[in-house]
Symmetry: C2
Subunit: 254 residues, 2 copies
């Protein structure tokens, strides 16, 4: 049997604002793409539009930088109020230097600036920045509930973002949240073709889906922030993207 997976960027997704209904926006995109949604399909949604719909904006005029933020601002060379917002979303600073602040986000993601960036953000009253969703796995569960109801099926949902990485140039798509998917698939004990136990034990399935969708979304435009996936299937147990976060004490690079 020939197996295929097809990723389709939903066309015509409008700019998303606070309290917009993402289920309706995605459903309209599905109509434009002329896709008949089926159980097992997956929707990958860019973090940025989920954050916007959840109104995760912070206005810098509302922020008073702490002494720590003022100190860090000298090293990093950014607005201390912006740094204060990064600190408020972080549990630990992993590395900081000129223009670089790698932190552990409060949800465990090790990433630049706690995922807070300023590109593709409309400014209205004063300068504002956009945080990650409060809890991306929960965001996915809510979206899945809405999409399942709308289409009368059982879909998977994934919220992705782009992360830099140690040792390799360039960013790649990564899963911040999932619902209805095996985000991390265990193959412990599954023998290889020649009967020896596998050395590799876990596959970051959701990160591979996130990367594939990211390739289609592109980076610069906000125009293709939703990707429909047809043909992904896995017999593995469903777990959330939080399973992808390696506990600090198990990490050789913290």
């Amino acid at each position: 049997m020939t197996r295929s997976i097809t990723y389709t960027a939903l066309p015509g997704i409008p700019r998303v604002g606070p309290d917009d209904d993402l289920v309706r926006i995605i459903a309209d995109g599905v109509t434009r793409a002329e896709i008949a949604v089926a159980s097992g399909d997956v929707f990958v949604v860019a973090q940025k539009i989920v954050s916007k719909a959840e109104n995760r904006y912070v206005y810098l005029d509302d922020v008073s930088p702490s002494d720590r933020a003022l100190e860090l601002a000298k090293t990093v060379g950014k607005d201390p109020r912006h740094i204060e917002v990064v600190l408020s979303e972080s549990s630990e600073i992993i590395r900081s230097r000129q223009n670089v602040m790698i932190v552990a986000h409060r949800l465990g993601f090790v990433m630049a600036n706690a995922g807070i960036d300023e590109s593709n953000i409309e400014q209205d009253r004063g300068h504002r920045v956009l945080l990650l969703p409060e809890n991306p796995d929960d965001s996915c569960e809510r979206l899945k509930a809405g999409l399942d109801r709308h289409f009368g099926v059982n879909v998977g949902v994934l919220v992705n973002d782009s992360f830099g990485r140690p040792w390799r140039n360039g960013v790649v798509g990564v899963a911040l949240g999932t619902a209805g998917l095996p985000a991390l698939q265990s193959i412990i004990g599954k023998p290889d073709l020649f009967g020896r136990p596998m050395q590799v034990t876990e596959i970051a399935v959701a990160d591979e889906l996130a990367a594939a969708a990211s390739l289609l979304m592109g980076q610069a435009a906000e125009g293709q922030p939703v990707v429909h996936v047809r043909g992904f299937s896995s017999p593995a147990r469903i777990n959330a993207a939080s399973a992808l976060v390696r506990p600090k004490e198990q990490d050789l690079f913290r």
Copy 2:
């Protein structure tokens, strides 16, 4: 316009041995999949079958472990001859402890065991291990030349492997080599929707393709080691996967 990318695992790829003709093997898989190959298509090929076709086997009986390998074997708990082979393929040991050896491969990839593993390897006379291709970008160029000639088109070729990562659980597909692709796409200076310069400057396009293909290849079986990609396109300048390797002196995590 609705944009899609479709990944298809070529069915019926046989076990690959030294000096097998991968172009012929891929072409036969394309026939079985009933795909009409076109310019712009990409073939993602698993490292393991490229290494096998290039006869990158080392027999442990032929290896004399150095003092350093004998010493490391105590920490890592592996056959010192295996460790000697890892050392011979590495420029630096990044971390080592029980069952774990993270090294910089001579080509710059930071990975476990210099990419040398023993799963899915047929043993014949004595125990043997399989190295990465001598130069994966060169392997891709040769495959591309053969495939372009065979099909009369202009394709991209990518050799992928699965890497573990700091901070996140599970392995993901990564590009070891490419030909005819923009492995690393620069978006420096490309403004966002609201005219500010982008913060993200480079996209690891080849790693995203590698991850997407890896999802379809699976891990345990060697049965689906070639994936055909239709619909990928990029206006970016072509560069090789070696561009994905971050120089040591530019890395915050070395």
